[in-house]
Symmetry: C2
Subunit: 207 residues, 2 copies
């Protein structure tokens, strides 16, 4: 047993947890082959990944869904509720504002920001909205840990810096810009155009 989880394994484990949470019968036993079908990951790899988790008292005859979820959450520290905000309330940002799946997954959407005051005043939502120039103040006051950047590309780095100044240390970036942040900050990027290109390139490769 190692004390370090390789990042690809860690990513698969995160996804495994999400998929297990969707299983209704959480008391049910599940074996690595079933997990393989559910996740698309080879059973071998599933077992290897699980072996990176500390403290799983394996019954050697499959896993119980609930216990596996707990074990993953303990190892990856995914138990509490993480305070989150969205910057940029255009089409994408406001679609996410309305998304009901955050809280069940452990993320509390605590604030929204936009540079357009009209947007803030007109939008109907229970989540408190603020002008973008208040990010430092409000995000810090609200103790936000994680920020979503859904602004136009040219504002991405400025927005990012404000979030970092506010004490946010995880950022999900929907722009295609590279964000420059201090060492300790974790940034992940999502771009569907990027994914399209990858799909196209892989397809061309397969002839």
């Amino acid at each position: 047993m190692q004390t370090f989880i390789p990042q690809p394994a860690l990513e698969r484990i995160c996804r495994l947890r999400i998929i297990l949470l969707e299983q209704v019968e959480q008391e049910k036993r599940i074996d690595s082959n079933e997990i393989s079908v559910l996740t698309g990951v080879a059973a071998n790899t599933v077992r290897k990944d699980i072996s990176y988790l500390e403290g799983y008292k394996g019954s050697k005859q499959g896993y119980t869904v609930a216990e596996l979820i707990t074990c993953i959450e303990e190892n990856l520290k995914l138990s509490g509720t993480v305070r989150t905000c969205i910057v940029g309330l255009g089409k994408l940002g406001s679609a996410m504002l309305d998304y009901p799946g955050f809280l069940p997954a452990g993320y509390k959407l605590t604030a929204g920001f936009d540079s357009d005051i009209n947007v803030i005043e007109l939008m109907k939502t229970d989540i408190p909205l603020f002008p973008a120039y208040d990010i430092e103040e409000q995000a810090e006051r609200l103790n936000i840990e994680l920020g979503i950047i859904a602004v136009p590309s040219k504002e991405a780095q400025k927005t990012c810096s404000r979030l970092v100044a506010a004490g946010v240390n995880g950022i999900l970036n929907f722009t295609s810009c590279t964000l420059h942040v201090p060492e300790k900050i974790v940034v992940r990027n999502i771009s569907f155009l990027h994914e399209f290109d990858i799909i196209s390139a892989l397809l061309a490769d397969k002839q």
Copy 2:
């Protein structure tokens, strides 16, 4: 020079192209260090990645942006316009319907589908909309190559199978479900909850 591009390199190259396209001064020369700043990838790795591209007549003194883009597009077959559709016109799907960035990036949004007929009739858009049960017929007729799945989880696999039946061979899946497809089909998944979890786990890891 190899004839095969490792997938991580291919993904970085796709992203490099997107970033280069945003550079206004495309006639400008750019060196691997500048690319490194722009992409967040080490200059070493940038050069290695570019070395996987065939037919780059290196001037040994930096690259010209336009030529590099062309070279990437030739190698990755990213030139033409790819016909695309969205299935699921909820918040996320309709946000994407309105997104103006597809065409500039080489993707023509050619149809939208939803299982709710009301949605289709009420939505204002220039893109033709159809009921979900028409996917096979319409997506085939319109020669759609790439499908976006933005439906609720429980409809994901059914939607996927319809798209595949319609001849679509690339799928971008916004649900957290694992899609089961024939060998030749390329699927990529996007899930922001998954990304959140990864960010949280990585942050916990860094203390």
